[in-house]
């Protein structure tokens, strides 16, 4: 035990050097903890926004246009129709509800403001399918859909941009110079997982968008909600069989649509953020190793500098083992206390990230403990060689060392 206190006392005799030496470990541990936390935060963020979209949601998008043998990218074809959406709604037992949707960009005006946004054409049951809610007012129903009525439901952002503090309900807005009556306002939803602001849009009946603004008959996407998350796969198979039949695709032919489940995206996102976290941890570990090399370096210098002291200790009866333990204690203490300091600073940085940037970075408690333990082991490993060299010194030569 006294050998440990000897090692610690040697560090205290040279406080600046000790602090500077352990700084490498401090920074290494700090960066491992903070980067892992950021990675975990990214993962939480992605999963949370996917969760917001609904875990039982299926997205049917048209396939790609084949133009003179060249594919023009997914989702560009115009093969999906409102009838497809209706068929899915009625003929797939595992589908709870479905809605076709189409979007375009347009300029929207109120009496005193002007805003460029997304116009989403949707069927009345789009709202329950997406699990969206209204902040105020109502949504359009089958009647407005059938008559292609000029009614609009505003996203939260659009409402405040166009009307400020005024109440938009019952007022009129202009979309491509046609007047639309505002009947409702959506509650705020934040970013979509694809990075779109879901509050920056105007929702109007699908038929109105098709006939009066875009002059088309297709839908851009069909959203279908399965009865429950564990029936997503069944629902997907039913939709696929139904659309193959409706689109007259022969058995073995290439379908002109694609069905994505948000749970697939969640899996991919999960895997990606895991890779990101590992990568960040790996990069941070490199700085930890550099910190360990710093300790190795200083301990080698220290052993050389204290050669005569080692000689004296050996002359008065220190065994090689005693010298080894003394120096090993020094490097272990340097890395241990450096690791602790890095851990504390890391957790403080994470708290700072959370309160100043609002990043949902979790504090990786187990990871922090593991990192501190790892740093200590690293310090012992890198201290082993200098300590071993110290213990193998010849007492006579060490005493003569100048």
């Amino acid at each position: 035990m006294f050998l440990v206190s000897l090692g610690l006392r040697a560090l205290l005799r040279n406080p600046y050097r000790s602090i500077l030496t352990s700084l490498g470990i401090v920074i290494g541990v700090l960066s491992v903890i903070v980067l892992v936390s950021i990675g975990l935060g990214a993962k939480a963020l992605v999963l949370q926004s996917i969760q917001n979209l609904g875990p039982n949601l299926l997205v049917v998008i048209p396939g790609s246009v084949t133009d003179s043998g060249a594919q023009v990218g997914g989702g560009t074809d115009t093969t999906l129709t409102l009838e497809d959406a209706q068929a899915i709604r009625h003929d797939c037992p595992d589908v709870w509800n479905a809605s076709g949707a189409l979007r375009t960009a347009a300029q929207v005006q109120s009496s005193h403001a002007n805003w460029s946004t997304v116009i989403l054409g949707a069927e009345p049951n789009y709202l329950p399918v997406r699990d969206w809610h209204l902040a105020r007012g109502g949504f359009f129903g089958a009647e407005e859909e059938a008559s292609a009525a000029r009614v609009a439901v505003l996203g939260h952002l659009v409402a405040s941009r166009l009307f400020g503090l005024e109440d938009p309900l019952g007022k009129f807005i202009q979309i491509n110079h046609s007047p639309f009556r505002v009947i409702g306002i959506l509650s705020s939803k934040g970013q979509s997982p694809m990075g779109m602001n879901q509050d920056d849009m105007v929702v109007i009946p699908l038929s109105t968008l098709q006939s009066q603004i875009m002059g088309v008959t297709y839908v851009g996407v069909i959203l279908a909600a399965a009865q429950s998350p564990d029936r997503v796969d069944d629902a997907r198979r039913e939709i696929r069989d139904l659309l193959l039949l409706r689109h007259h695709i022969p058995a073995g032919g290439r379908p002109d649509f694609d069905i994505q489940a948000l749970s697939d995206i969640a899996k991919t996102a999960n895997r990606l953020s895991l890779i990101l976290t590992l990568l960040l941890a790996l990069i941070a570990s490199i700085s930890l190793i550099v910190g360990g090399i710093g300790i190795l370096n200083i301990m080698l210098v220290s052993v050389r500098e204290r050669t005569r002291e080692i000689g004296i200790r050996m002359a008065i009866g220190a065994r090689p083992r005693d010298i080894l333990v003394q120096f090993l204690t020094e490097s272990a203490a340097l890395s241990f206390f450096g690791g602790i300091a890095g851990g504390i600073l890391g957790i403080l940085s994470i708290l700072g990230l959370r309160s100043f940037l609002g990043w949902p970075a979790p504090i990786p408690w187990e990871g922090s403990l593991l990192t501190v333990a790892g740093a200590t082991i690293l310090g012992i490993l890198f201290g082993l060689y200098p300590a071993w060299r110290a213990s193998r010194l010849d007492p006579m030569e060490a005493l003569r060392y100048e």
Binding site: E309, I312, R313, A315, G317, A318, P320, M396
Partner: protein, 231 residues
């Protein structure tokens, strides 16, 4: 104060030689010496610088190993022991006093004196008490908190002597203990050594080139060119 009279250690160097490897050349420092130190005697090894007298002292104190030949403590061969066992033997049986004091820097006088007991595993209170006694006995009782850099040469050597005696060794080896001291400090250091030797009956070996110093010893052995001179 517990009186630590312990019969001194008898040491025998049997046909020892020592070659030093300097830049690829083997330089003989000791060319074949057989020499005994009797229990409790005070002996002076005298010779000019480079004669090999210090090397003989280091071989006797197990700081160094002979190239050939053997070293015996109480008829037990000790030069072939492991580094660890030799360290234990140095700790329990041998005290060293060096020309340049060899106190540990940035360490107080008291801590320096405690050091041999530390490696022996003596509990800290006992260690402290014993070290204080020894500092007192060399007249350094009021300097225990001083660092070696704050002490004069004579004072440092007194601390070094306290350290050499703290573990009650059977053999005290002093290598030019007055070499770096002015004549007044030198005399008091020598008197201190002789007094300690008389009190504890340990074996004392004094290496010096100074015949005045050698006069303090009861027997003188001359060394020249790595060999003993015939008396």
């Amino acid at each position: 104060m517990q009186e630590d009279v312990r019969p001194g250690l008898s040491v025998r160097l049997d046909a020892v030689t020592k070659l030093y490897n300097v830049a690829g050349d083997e330089l003989p420092a000791i060319r074949g010496v057989t020499l005994s130190f009797d229990k409790g005697e005070a002996l002076a090894l005298v010779g000019s610088s480079g004669s090999g007298k210090s090397t003989l002292l280091h071989l006797s104190g197990l700081l160094d190993r002979p190239t050939t030949g053997a070293v015996y403590y109480e008829n037990r061969r000790v030069d072939s022991l492991s580094p660890s066992d030799r360290a234990i033997l140095r700790n329990r049986s041998v005290g060293f006093v060096f020309q340049n004091f060899q106190l540990i820097p940035r360490t107080t006088a008291l801590e320096n004196v405690e050091m041999p007991l530390l490696y022996r595993g003596v509990p800290s209170r006992e260690r402290r008490e014993r070290a204080r006694e020894l500092l007192l006995s060399v007249g350094m009782g009021d300097r225990e908190r001083h660092y070696s850099s704050q002490l004069s040469g004579g004072q440092q050597q007194r601390v070094a002597i306290a350290r050499a005696l703290v573990a009650s060794p059977g053999l005290l080896l002093a290598d030019e203990p007055t070499g770096n001291l002015d004549s007044r400090s030198a005399v008091s250091v020598l008197e201190l050594l002789m007094k300690a030797q008389e009190r504890t009956r340990m074996t004392l070996v004094l290496v010096t080139h100074d015949p005045e110093v050698a006069r303090f010893a009861s027997r003188t052995v001359r060394v020249r060119d790595g060999l003993l001179e015939k008396a």
